[in-house]
């Protein structure tokens, strides 16, 4: 091996569902170890599709994709995916939903339980442990889903708008928690969001995407050193980056909007 192998590597990738239109075109992208890459772009531009490809849930149509040095499917045990919908099992309580990945790995019950408690506390749901999904609010469900994905300390984290249904305070707090976790176990992340400031706060690289067909429009590097603290958001350099990304986004969308 020469040089560090990228964690995720797309080469001239193209994706279409069945015989439908091209959804992703000519995608080339490499994520290095420790990268926190945000994907941002108009609705339907293929952000969720990218995560599905990386996770191996959907096959590539043309081109190549390597994840953690192997195929997406073989890399699964070192990935976690937070879906755009909470995708909780309706017959399990919040706690048991969070325990699920550990259960699937065969962890002992006591350990599972402790870990689930810890993660639920992290997302502020200690009081709702024994609620069934239908008793939870939309944001609470999403937080359970986040807690579930984090229990396994994966090397590669795929996040599809995890914080979209949350209020700003909770969202900011969870952003900071996420970065704190990153300090602890140094995961690589592919992060889909619609919030530019969230993207700037969290990532070292932001990919701005265009639609019809979905493709990369441009990349913005964010060089603020990690660990980052909440006060970063108030700094003018931060605002400058936000403006830079927003400008790119406007370019993209202008070409689409009627």
């Amino acid at each position: 091996m020469e040089g560090p192998e990228p964690i995720v590597k797309f080469t001239a990738l193209r994706k279409r569902y069945g015989s439908g239109p091209v959804v992703l075109d000519n995608l080339t992208l490499a994520a290095a170890e420790g990268d926190f890459i945000s994907l941002i772009g108009p609705s339907g531009c293929g952000k969720s599709t990218i995560l599905k490809l990386v996770s191996g849930l959907n096959p590539v149509s043309e081109g190549q994709l390597a994840v953690l040095g192997t195929t997406p499917r073989q890399a699964r045990d070192r990935q976690a995916f937070i879906f755009q919908d909470a995708t909780l099992l309706p017959w399990l309580t919040a706690r048991r939903n969070v325990e699920l990945p550990l259960r699937l790995r065969g962890s002992p019950a006591a350990e599972r339980r402790a870990k689930a408690r810890e993660m639920l506390a992290l997302v502020g749901l200690d009081h709702a442990q024994d609620y069934f999904p239908r008793q939870l609010s939309g944001g609470m469900r999403m937080r359970v889903s986040i807690a579930r994905a984090l229990t396994l300390s994966p090397r590669l984290l795929l996040l599809d708008e995890p914080f979209g249904a949350l209020d700003e305070m909770t969202r900011n707090r969870l952003n900071e928690e996420l970065l704190a976790l990153r300090e602890r176990w140094r995961f690589t992340a592919l992060f889909v969001t619609h919030s530019v400031s969230e993207a700037v706060f969290l990532s070292n690289r932001i990919m701005v995407m265009a639609a019809h067909p979905g493709r990369l429009h441009g990349e913005v590097r964010v060089d603020f050193p990690y660990p980052r603290a909440g006060e970063l958001r108030g700094r003018p350099e931060f605002q400058a980056k936000v403006n830079e990304v927003s400008r790119l986004l406007h370019e993209v969308e202008e070409t689409v909007s009627p």
Binding site: G56, R76, D77, F81, P90, W91, P101, L104, F132, P133
Partner: protein, 269 residues
Amino acid sequence: MKAPIMKKPSSLQLWLLPVVSGLAFVGLWYGVRRWSGLQSWILPTPAEIIAAAWTERARLLAAAGNTAVGALAGFLLAGVLGFGTSMLLGVSRALRASLYPWLLVLQMTPVIVLTPIIVLWAGPGLPGIVTVTWLISYFPIVANMTQGLLSTDMNHVALFRMANATPLQEMLLLRVPSAMPYYLAGLRIAATLAPIGAIFGEYMVGNSSGGTGGLGFLVYSYNTQIKIPALFATALTSCLLGFVFVAAVSFLNWAVLHQWHDSFERADH
């Protein structure tokens, strides 16, 4: 102005309704008897049936006991094997393609053709009866449960695939729980089939030393003896037996689903 309180049947009403409809049914029955000119040896009145049931109570009870054993054993066998078979079918498309046609063959072969084999291999009497009951109630469970296992939400499947769940885990922790409403609907069908299946089995492969068979034996014997009210009393007994089975399944249904499934969601309006 207050938020509306909806008029839903109270639980007392839910108990009363079948009684009321039952009374209507009995009334209709007497009406049919009266206006159709049917006689007691075709359609006895409820009163005649009850009277016959009382007269024959000893034989009915003993027979019901016998039948219940066969029905229960066949039902449990169907419930367990149906569950297992469906998991086999649900786990792999290849297995499904290989096995399903032969299951259909098994289901669609008239029992009468198999009777000699059943008697030979399982033995006459109870083992044969259980086999026939099983044959009859097995397939609805398999058909339903398999459909249920295949109807799992693809988002949930994606979740399990991502967690690198083994096929067995996907089956046990995901597909099986989400197929429970289907399985229970299948069990409910089987619950109604089990007692008549056992009666049919007694008809086909039963044996009875000295005249103490199950309800199937009584049906046959009352029928040839033209004891029609007693025949209907036997049918009534068989229904009551069936209700016990259905009630058990309904309880199971409640226990398994009420906490999370939408069929138990109190529509709050």
